[in-house]
């Protein structure tokens, strides 16, 4: 289990770290939309190259991305199994008994795997290079125009930032509880079905208890310091878009346009 990296901020000194969070969030959204266009392998190769460039610029190590990707592998294996049973198109590859494997099963899974990898690369780059606090400010600013139609943008931003803030804590907490229960003989990997259920229960209950406890503590701490949602408040940090932020946006927009063009052509 150890060392889950998903959603964790990595304090490094890189041009991506210095960028305006609004530009990074917008850039990420553009890229995520781009991924969903069926632009074919060439398109994905281009997106992959772009995402890889961002990761290199951000000074993140490939193992870091790999670790974030790892939990998804189980899902992909599951998907491959489902696909082999239900996707019977394309060319038959081989037959075992009455069961035939078709090429589309492999291609479909690979297709989703590539998209998933791209998504993980892009979102991880954002969360790893943006402090949770900056993320909130960025989200809040981006949502502000929707305030006129009654969107509680400040609350949404606060919600997201608290969630992001607590992911690593909850992961640490989970690992601590796993250790504590393993000390009491809980075996998460083996055992009969009823034992497994008990094992899972012995993790989930304390995790919920501590999550609620944390939520309550945080709420009290915020209230004690005078936090009231909806109140007008000043900012300690003022965001400012610079040249590199505009470049990022232009590049991302260009990529999206490229993907749209590629998918229309095919």
């Amino acid at each position: 289990m150890g060392n889950i990296t998903l959603g964790r901020y990595i304090p490094l000194d890189s041009p991506i770290h210095k960028m305006d969070p609004r530009a990074k969030i917008m850039g990420m959204l553009l890229m995520l939309v781009a991924i969903f266009f069926p632009a074919g392998w060439i398109g994905y190769a281009i997106l992959f190259a772009a995402a890889a460039c961002a990761i290199i610029l951000a000074k993140l190590s490939p193992t870091f991305i790999w670790k974030a990707m790892k939990p998804m592998l189980y899902m992909l294996v599951f998907l491959l199994v489902i696909n082999t049973f239900f996707l019977k198109t394309g060319t038959p590859l081989f037959t075992i008994g009455s069961f035939t494997m078709y090429s589309d099963a492999i291609f479909q899974t690979l297709y989703i795997a590539v998209r998933l990898l791209l998504m993980v690369m892009i979102t991880t780059t954002l969360t790893a290079t943006t402090k949770p606090l900056d993320m909130t400010l960025g989200i809040e600013d981006l949502l502000k125009p929707f305030g006129k139609i009654g969107v509680p943008y400040h609350e949404i931003a606060m919600l997201i930032s608290i969630a992001l803030r607590f992911i690593p804590d909850l992961i640490d907490e989970t690992q601590r509880i796993i250790k504590a229960q393993e000390s009491r003989g809980v075996d998460l990997k083996e055992g009969k079905f009823t034992e497994r259920v008990m094992a899972i229960l012995s993790l989930i209950v304390p995790l919920f208890v501590s999550a609620f406890q944390r939520a309550e503590d945080l709420a009290n701490a915020m209230e004690a310091r005078g936090y009231a949602p909806g109140e007008e408040r000043t900012r300690y940090k003022v965001l400012k878009m610079e040249g590199r932020d505009y470049i990022l946006l232009i590049v991302c927009a260009a990529l999206l346009a490229g993907m749209i063009w590629l998918s229309m052509r095919s």
Partner: protein
């Protein structure tokens, strides 16, 4: 057979920017049948050290010998479950591990995992709860309704009910009331004396080390700074000064009396002995 650490090191989050070397080349031999205190500043690596004892953390380098088993770096430990049954580890803040509907069920959870039949597990749970001093009227309550100190007792009972040969306690009395602390420490001392359990206690409380422990291990910055008998460690305050530790009040008292010109024997280790020695000298010079 003693518990032996040979060139053990451990790195957290290896290969990430959060990488942290928490143990560095630890060599240590812990005698069986004794109470050993593990002391050191916050973040020095005490919890990391003791979590190696039941293979919750595995050494990155080196090896650990414990109860006829060897845990070697880079190898998957064998018979993990039986090791965890023999080495009971009570975590720092163990109250967060409670999950069952009732206190008694939660305490019986450990022994049941190690194959003790239900009825015997419940018996053991009752005994363990009595040992830690929880009132019987709370046995059927939900553990989540208890106070922090009561939860702590239940969590400790949960490990005691497993009847381990080696008992490892990570700050078991942090946050308990003074009386609760004394009764808890007396319990560990009794388990050691009467049932010959090997006990390791991580603590910040020098009074506890002085009063209840036989040996002391000082961890500093991931390394073992000192390992000696408690009597030797507290024979005067020089070791404490060297390691930036506030000595127990009796030792400080002895220092003050020495400064004031009294002859104080190093072997005096309780307040009564000290008082009578002082009284004698006062009378003599009276």
């Amino acid at each position: 057979m003693p518990i032996r650490f040979e060139h053990v090191s451990h790195t957290y989050s290896a290969g990430t920017p959060y990488e942290y070397k928490a143990l560095k080349d630890v060599n240590l031999e812990i005698e069986e049948g004794k109470i050993t205190a593990v002391i050191g500043m916050t973040g020095s690596g005490k919890s990391t050290l003791v979590q190696h004892l039941n293979a919750l953390l595995l050494p990155e380098e080196g090896k650990i010998e414990i109860l006829d088993r060897t845990i070697t770096a880079g190898e998957k430990p064998k018979n993990l479950k039986s090791l965890r049954g023999d080495v009971g580890l009570v975590f720092q803040f163990p109250e967060y591990q409670l999950f069952e509907e009732t206190v008694i069920k939660d305490v019986a959870f450990g022994p049941k995992n190690f194959g003790v039949p239900e009825s015997e597990a419940v018996e053991r749970a009752k005994k363990a709860l009595a040992m830690v001093g929880l009132e019987p009227d709370k046995f059927e309550r939900s553990p989540l309704e208890l106070s922090g100190g009561q939860k702590r007792r239940v969590a400790i009972a949960g490990i005691l009910a497993m009847d381990p040969k080696v008992l490892v306690l990570d700050e078991p009395t942090a946050g308990l009331d003074p009386l609760g602390t004394v009764s808890m420490m007396s319990l560990f001392s009794k388990l050691n004396r009467e049932m010959h359990k090997t006990i390791l206690i991580v603590t910040h409380d020098m009074e506890q080390v002085f009063k209840y422990c036989d040996r002391v291990v000082v961890v500093e910055n991931g390394s073992i700074r000192a390992h000696m008998s408690v009597a030797h460690f507290f024979s005067d305050s020089s070791f404490c000064k060297e390691m930036n530790i506030l000595p127990p009040s009796l030792i400080r008292m002895k220092d003050l009396l020495r400064e004031a010109g009294f002859e104080i024997d190093d072997r005096i280790h309780d307040i009564d002995g000290l008082a009578s020695s002082v009284a004698r000298q006062v009378k003599q010079h009276g």
